[in-house]
């Protein structure tokens, strides 16, 4: 099981702050493919991954990053701090 988190407009579009996901996905990209099938809201939120950033266990990661051992995967837009 992986806990998937969403922030900012991704959270609003998906309609969930977090969800537990049973997955066999080997990479972030495979997980995204699976998540898109969960609902239309997921498919819409994750339709353009160019505007989405990913962190695995609170470290920034790429779409092809492996998920082996991952407990938490977060999706969010580019950061706007400062």
């Amino acid at each position: 099981m992986i806990e998937v988190l969403y922030f900012a407009w991704l959270r609003e579009r998906v309609g969930e702050r977090s969800e537990m996901v049973e997955t066999g996905a080997a990479t972030v990209a495979e997980l995204v493919e699976e998540l898109r099938t969960r609902s239309e809201a997921h498919a819409l939120a994750l339709s353009d991954m160019k505007s989405v950033r990913v962190a695995i266990d609170q470290d920034m990661a790429d779409m092809d990053a492996p998920l082996a051992g991952a407990r938490e995967v977060a999706f969010f837009p580019p950061m706007t701090g400062g």
């Binding site: 922030f7 609170q58 938490e72 950061m79 706007t80 701090g81 400062g82």
Partner: protein
């Protein structure tokens, strides 16, 4: 405390005095504070979301990077989250060094990195609705100079 992620307001004067008292041998302290812009009534509030499990560690690693790159005696960062009104302070950085060049450069570096590498997201709330602030290409480009 060198990094503080908090919802409550902070007193910049008190933070800077405490910081100045914690570093010895400083010849320069540079401070910066970012405010919620008062855009002539177009903005009612700003809502800042963050990723609690990641924020403090990400901000601390940016701080450590600045300490490694410049000859600093110290650096502190305060960043707020939650709902803020126009004119309120969002965040501050302070850097201390023997000479001003290091303190100025490190403060700019911290600001550039906090803008696009610290997990905060700003939403502007106005009379006509809400709108997530989009990251700007210039913010990403600003990192290239370091």
């Amino acid at each position: 405390m060198t990094v503080s992620i908090q919802s409550s307001p902070f007193d910049m004067g008190a933070e800077v005095r405490r910081f100045a008292g914690s570093v010895s041998g400083a010849g320069a302290i540079v401070t910066f504070s970012g405010l919620v812009r008062n855009d002539g009534g177009k903005l009612t509030a700003m809502e800042i979301e963050h990723y609690p499990a990641m924020t403090e560690r990400a901000v601390e690693s940016i701080r450590v990077e600045a300490m490694d790159r410049w000859s600093l005696l110290g650096a502190v960062i305060v960043h707020r989250y939650g709902r803020l009104e126009p004119g309120e302070q969002i965040m501050m950085v302070a850097t201390a060094a023997r000479h001003r060049a290091d303190a100025f450069m490190a403060a700019q570096f911290l600001m550039d990195y906090l803008k696009s590498r610290a997990p905060f997201w700003k939403k502007e709330i106005g009379p006509d609705g809400e709108n997530w602030v989009a990251a700007r290409d210039e913010d990403e480009d600003a990192l290239a100079r370091w």
